[in-house]
Symmetry: C2
């Protein structure tokens, strides 16, 4: 992509509405814009990152044997009345009446819909296990939308639902998702910690949250040297130093924004919605269910919280909007412009996602924007570097600068990309 043909409205000023680094940087780097309280638009660079996160999730979910579906946001209120959650969800669930007077809701989650979908279609133990997932937009009327897309009223979730014939099967499905989650978060550059958690309004027995330690975190995790790790709510402790429920040693407590949550739901939904199957022994039994959520849009600011410095974002390569930024410092200087164009063509041809900063701007503007947006590699081409037939490469994450011969740059550059 050529910068002059891209819509990248970076901001010099700190946005006053933003409290935390990721929110400030997502606005300043031109990734998102606010439309209304808790409601955001993704600009081209933000959408590129989002598509990369989605691609990782899709790949790992498919690899884990889950199958992708797409369920509606519009849901009949009647399903929620049957599960008993219509009242329970309170004001958080957005409710509407259609033109014929039918009560509908905007899905804050999809346990009811998926259970109604499989009821009568997963009829035999021979069809099990099945794990269906979607990457889809959810709606929750947040009382206090905050921190940009970390806590918003419209957001993208990956939600998966497993159906098994017995609890042993559920344990296996749950473990498979647990492992897939570790891979997904690792590939996104997140050090997410799985901790025991409360099941809340989902219901069910066991549950794990995947938490990322963060100073602004509104949740908290407790950890003990004995290996115990849980949400603060689950551990029911007040402060660091309180005794571990397992070994009585003093625990540590630290703030942490949840990015994933998995639940063993058992038969809570399948029983009330009549999702039963014929087992090998001839008995009709309710399906044993698990559900597995990832806050897809929330991953982006969470990554930024852990990958930035005073100058801007430091993207992990796999989810960077572009991997390489080529900045000819003076596009009026024909040899700089030509060398930049040649390198751009060579990298693009190799499949390295590259942006060419072909703007007729001052060098300072270009370098600041590159640091702010945080492309993993920044290439500078100038009269000075060309005098030595070189380019200058900066690794954004480390700040390390090196020089490569112009001729071998296209082949050498990709190997400098950090993980």
């Amino acid at each position: 992509m050529r910068w002059t043909q891209a819509h990248i409205p970076t901001l010099r000023e700190e946005p006053v509405e933003a409290e935390i680094a990721s929110h400030k940087l997502m606005l300043r780097a031109g990734l998102i814009r606010k439309l209304s309280a808790g409601v955001y638009s993704y600009l081209p660079l933000g959408q590129r990152v989002l598509l990369k996160v989605i691609a990782i999730i899709r790949q790992e979910m498919n690899r884990a044997g889950a199958q992708e579906v797409l369920l509606p946001a519009l849901q009949p209120a009647e399903l929620w009345k049957r599960s008993g959650r219509h009242e329970l969800m309170g004001q958080e669930m957005i409710r509407i009446r259609d033109r014929h007077g039918k009560e509908m809701v905007l899905g804050p989650t999809h346990e009811e819909v998926i259970t109604a979908l499989v009821a009568g279609e997963l009829r035999s133990y021979r069809q099990l296990p099945v794990n269906l997932y979607q990457i889809q937009t959810k709606f929750r009327d947040e009382p206090r939308p905050r921190f940009g897309v970390i806590r918003s009223s419209e957001f993208i979730m990956k939600d998966a639902y497993s159906f098994d014939r017995d609890t042993t099967g559920l344990d296996t499905s749950y473990q498979t998702m647990y492992e897939a989650y570790r891979t997904i978060f690792a590939r996104c550059g997140l050090g997410a910690i799985p901790v025991e958690a409360e099941t809340g309004f989902m219901g069910g027995s066991d549950s794990h949250e995947f938490m990322v330690p963060a100073a602004h975190g509104e949740d908290a995790i407790v950890r003990c040297p004995c290996g115990y790790a849980a949400s603060q709510e689950r551990a029911a402790v007040k402060a660091s130093g309180d005794p571990c429920p397992k070994c009585r040693k003093p625990l540590t407590l630290e703030p942490a924004i949840e990015v994933g949550h998995i639940f063993k739901l058992g038969t809570k939904y399948t029983q009330v919605l009549g999702a039963t199957f014929l087992d090998e022994d001839g008995a009709q039994k309710p399906l044993i269910m698990g559900c597995y959520g990832i806050g897809v849009t929330r991953i982006i600011p969470t990554v930024i919280e852990g990958h930035h410095d005073a100058a801007g974002i430091q993207w992990p390569s796999e989810i960077a909007p572009y991997q390489v930024d080529i900045a000819p410092l003076n596009v009026q200087h024909a040899p700089s412009r030509e060398a930049a164009e040649q390198l751009y063509a060579a990298l693009t041809q190799q499949g390295v996602e590259t942006i060419l900063d072909d703007r007729d701007e001052r060098a300072g503007v270009k370098l600041k924007d590159a640091d702010l947006i945080g492309f993993p590699l920044r290439v500078v081409i100038s009269e000075k570097t060309l005098a030595k037939s070189e380019i200058e490469v900066k690794v954004r994450a480390t700040g390390q600068t090196s020089f490569l011969p112009l001729a071998s740059a296209p082949t050498q550059l990709p190997s400098l990309l950090p993980a």
Copy 2:
């Protein structure tokens, strides 16, 4: 994918709720299920087709220089009041009040949001032209939802918005989209005809609809040998034989469901929402806008209307859920099972999307399901074919059957895939 691990609930019976072939076949082939009037879930095979259609659209939009964004479904009603469409949209627009009493709507389209987004960010003629698009879920409270996902209350649209400095620029942006649309529909296997159309509630000057002739179509197109082609509404004619507005020869009138619509909006939205830019001459001017929609989910049934026979769907290869179905007729027969497994592994390794029908089912069930779902190539492996060291290949679209040597099948099969 192995069939035994896939969730493909095909139906033997004709669904009584469905009136037209595509709706019946989407239900019977296990592509979609109805959740509520005009609201559908996509099952794994339906979602695979949807992702392929989306990939084609994304590729062609990017190739045409458009940049992808993602705008919210939740929109402040205030924006619609400013454009004057808050009342105009009537009951079709779903309206809600959030917990703080703020009036919001669920976006039936995004002219207001995109214009508000670029207002103040596209400040100079040097930033133009810009074309921003999204592939996103829209909501319209349909008075008479019909024909499955052809006319539903929740659906996916690709909507693009171009911003230019003058009408010459708009003409170029419009023409670029016009060409991209032709390519997109052709790749999806649709013979879409661009016709002159009314602008309706969008406003603006020129507009073209992309129509696909279809017996159940609720719209109609008129065509004249002189080259004139328009929607019935635009041509303002009553019946075939009425005179052409251009040359007065008799027109033909035929039913056709719209899959795309492009508009030259001019300054209708940019003026009221204050989206102005500084032109080269130093004057502040409203951006000149175009908008370009594709009914993404509607493409699927439209393709099926033109690609099916009595036995089921006949997918064009590029959007088929899988390109090849391998059916060992008797999985109890070890050599059939092994030959099928080997071919499956070889095709998968080549990147040919293949489904292995490893079900322990009667041959009739397997062959009927393959025809119903409509994989472009169906491979039969049986004791009979193996006796000659062969496989049987049927091209679904033509019904043509041939035999290939087992040994060279992995290399020869892909060349049989129809366009």
